[in-house]
């Protein structure tokens, strides 16, 4: 079979090349026969052309946005409905709304000076729950920082969230990390790291370890469209492809990197547009459609594990909240713009409409759940706030597996000092030995 001569480059020529690879034993013959016809440069798999032509980035429409439901929550093509049980969908809905409620309480508590920092997940609940629900709970998650919903789906309790944000004695992180930097070995969620993008090559490394152990699991790596401008993102995407790692790159394209809108972040076709260039399977989904996210992640997981290759998902969504409590987004975007997404295209209302149409949910249930949810959050919040801080000596632990003598010496000095001047320190707020 002779290679197809293409008038234009771009996506179609990639597809044509894939076809060529798939013809198996014939391809060797074809290569010999056509060696004059095809460039033989190492690393090249393209055609000759005698036309002086630059590739125009605007030659083709962007990669389409896969969706299951329309904005009203109506399934468009029934074959795409994942047919999840009422119980499962209700759990998804409750998790999305509970995340929303928790965000409101913790955001306010930062505003009142009770905790130092917080980041809300408003508007992106669909990307969290849709993707987390499609994963195996044992798949390892590397988050960026705005993926609390995935942890909540896996069973991180309200108490655990609150304890972390307060850094109290029951915080699994022993009060060492700033708020929202959750981590749970039990739930296979790697502790959040602040520098942007470092989780991406690390996810590839972990996926490489999974590939070697052949444990039937994959690694899920969340990142934002802003992070994809970091050098780490390039390294990670490229390596995952060259090392054939079972990793899903899940981009939450929420329109803003703090104040930088996505139109200033890149000129190409978003993040998904880069996938084929790295040799990765790629899809763009409506991140506010929890079923679209679920379907895409489920399929991506299958491919990642069965074919040992990375998959890129770009979930289009909108960050309704401020970037963090250190940000005031009214300085760079209009209230009307935010209102549009909050009122017209919200993942929670879309799922609620779906449930209403199925007869799985009603006003009475909504009211009851809202009250119940708020009560649960407030109770956990009050409990966490009252708890003591961890023993202050914990500041010296976990620097190394075994405490070296110079750190032990520091601890001893502090012990003596604190003992001597006990009345100057709020020791009653800290757990004793």
């Amino acid at each position: 079979m002779l290679p197809i001569r293409l008038a234009r480059f771009g996506i179609r020529s990639v597809a044509a090349n894939c076809k060529r690879i798939n013809i198996g034993s014939l391809s060797q013959v074809a290569r010999e026969f056509s060696s004059d016809e095809r460039p033989q440069f190492p690393g090249s798999r393209s055609q000759w052309t005698e036309k002086l032509e630059f590739i125009r980035p605007d030659l083709y429409d962007g990669i389409p946005v896969y969706r299951v439901m329309d904005r009203k929550g109506k399934v468009i093509d029934p074959s795409q409905d994942p047919q999840l049980s009422q119980e499962m969908v209700t759990k998804m809905y409750k998790c999305m709304t509970q995340l929303n409620t928790m965000d409101r309480i913790l955001y306010e508590s930062q505003r009142q000076g009770r905790i130092s920092f917080y980041m809300t997940n408003y508007g992106e609940e669909g990307t969290h729950i849709g993707s987390a629900a499609a994963l195996d709970p044992k798949d390892l998650i590397f988050g960026q920082y705005r993926e609390a919903g995935t942890l909540m789906w896996r069973g991180f309790t309200l108490d655990q969230f609150m304890n972390q944000c307060y850094g109290n004695v029951d915080d699994g992180g022993k009060g060492k990390q700033m708020p929202v930097h959750y981590g749970s070995k039990e739930l296979n969620f790697v502790t959040i790291s602040s520098p942007l993008g470092t989780q991406m090559p690390q996810a590839v490394g972990a996926a490489y370890a999974y590939k070697r152990s052949q444990n039937g699991l994959c690694v899920m790596c969340y990142f934002g469209e802003g992070t994809s401008s970091e050098g780490d993102a390039h390294a990670a995407l490229n390596f995952s492809a060259t090392l054939d790692c079972p990793v899903i790159f899940f981009c939450r394209n929420n329109g803003y990197a703090i104040s930088t809108p996505s139109k200033e972040q890149y000129r190409g076709d978003g993040i998904a547009g880069r996938g084929p260039a790295y040799g990765m399977l790629t899809i763009r989904v409506d991140g506010n459609d929890v079923f679209a996210v679920y379907n895409a992640t489920l399929k991506a997981r299958q491919v990642a594990i069965s074919e040992m290759r990375p998959v890129l998902i770009e979930a289009m969504t909108y960050r309704i909240g401020h970037h963090s409590t250190s940000d005031d987004s009214t300085a760079y975007r209009s209230v009307d713009e935010v209102r549009y997404w909050d009122e017209r295209d919200h993942p929670i209302s879309r799922l609620r409409n779906y449930m209403l149409s199925k007869g799985w949910w009603g006003d009475a249930q909504e009211k009851e759940w809202k009250e119940d949810c708020k009560r649960q959050v407030m109770t956990a919040f009050a409990r966490a706030e009252k708890k003591l801080k961890p023993n202050w000596k914990e500041i010296f632990t976990d620097v190394y597996h075994e405490m070296p003598s110079h750190i032990r010496e520091q601890m001893k000095q502090m012990e003596e000092h604190v003992q001597k001047y006990a009345e100057h320190y709020p020791l009653k707020n800290f757990t004793k030995d």
Binding site: T198, P201, A235
Partner: protein
């Protein structure tokens, strides 16, 4: 990064100008056998970096490993230090024990975020939940004729940071024992080798050649016993001190040479014990003076009881406080040499 090809050339030149192999083990072979033995011992250990596989490493430290262990455990990476340092860090989080080779530590500046902010701090930030058993290694310090961007000691940089362990082998014995200890260590370890020393052969005992040989991290070694003055150094500067000690011995001054071996944790007890005996202290390093390892040694000596054991102010002998020049004469004179140490010692001891 830039000048990598030039560096390979320098690496090869390093081999051709090595001392005659009158002894049993070169630093290069010591590092190579340390990695080989640990890969054999623990399936989780693997090495990654630029050129480490088929090419056997830019400095041939991974010689033969790709043939023996294959693509799965000896991985050539695309050229991005931040990328493969991040992947190695993630692999360690995922349960493997990576050895991440930087072609030289100079290039690790691209990757330092992963080394410091991820590898060194994750165990603490996760309150002991996630550990990162990883070794970052490669040649450190000045090579020869490769100027400012390739001739720098990172001892002070990395040893500044809690969460990391930092070792700096001088001899073949150090190289083998410290690297093996680093690979087995549950914490992230930075291994600062010296390119000029790679081809140097050392006499080693059968014990060093054994597969169980380990040099504990955080313990210094007295390389030469003396009673008049203590010279403290690490890596190639130990050779500078030994040269000086030999010369001083001819005029009746017996210098004790302390090879730090580890920069973090730093074995200050050994330094202190030595100074109690000699009452004089000189630190020698090839890095820069400000906030250097010597600054740390001298501070620890004078800020505590050690001060009272000193008969004269301690002195630092360091590299010149300038980016490394290219011209050979200038380069040679920008680094401490035996004669500089001799001069300082004579001055401190008031010997003409």
């Amino acid at each position: 990064m830039m000048l990598k090809n030039a560096f390979k050339y320098v690496g090869l030149r390093g081999i051709s100008t090595s001392r005659p192999a009158s002894a049993q083990l070169t630093v290069r072979d010591a590092l190579n056998s340390a990695i080989d033995e640990e890969m054999e011992r623990d399936e989780r250990v693997f090495i990654l970096g630029e050129e480490v596989a088929q090419y056997d490493g830019a400095y041939k430290i991974s010689r033969g490993l790709w043939k023996k262990y294959g693509d799965k455990r000896v991985i050539d990476t695309p050229i991005t230090e931040m990328g493969f340092a991040g992947i190695a860090t993630g692999a360690a989080m995922g349960g493997l024990r990576p050895i991440c080779e930087f072609m030289t530590w100079n290039f690790s500046m691209q990757a330092i975020d992963h080394v410091i902010n991820s590898a060194a701090k994750t165990f603490y930030m996760s309150a002991g939940l996630v550990n990162v058993p990883i070794v970052f290694r490669g040649p450190n310090g000045a090579a020869a004729g490769v100027a400012a961007q390739h001739s720098q000691c990172f001892g002070a940089w990395y040893s500044h940071c809690p969460g990391l362990k930092v070792v700096a082998p001088y001899s073949a014995e150090d190289a083998k024992g410290l690297l093996k200890a680093a690979i087995r260590d549950p914490d992230p370890v930075v291994c600062l080798e010296n390119e000029i020393m790679y081809g140097t052969a050392f006499d080693v005992s059968d014990e060093v050649l054994s597969k169980d040989f380990i040099v504990p991290i955080g313990k210094a070694k007295i390389e030469r016993v003396g009673k008049h003055i203590t010279l403290v150094a690490f890596s190639r500067a130990v050779a500078t001190c030994l040269d000086a000690a030999k010369e001083l011995s001819a005029i009746g001054i017996e210098a004790e040479v302390v090879n730090l071996r580890s920069l973090r944790p730093l074995d200050f007890d050994t330094v202190m014990e030595s100074v109690k005996k000699t009452n004089h202290l000189v630190s020698v390093e090839h890095g820069w003076p400000q906030s250097g390892v010597g600054a740390e040694i001298v501070s620890r000596m004078v800020e505590g009881p050690g001060f009272y054991y000193l008969d004269a102010p301690p002195v630092r002998v360091t590299g010149a406080d300038i980016p490394m020049p290219y011209a050979k004469t200038l380069e040679d004179n920008s680094l401490p040499q035996g004669k500089d140490v001799v001069r300082v010692v004579k001055k401190i001891l008031n010997v003409q």
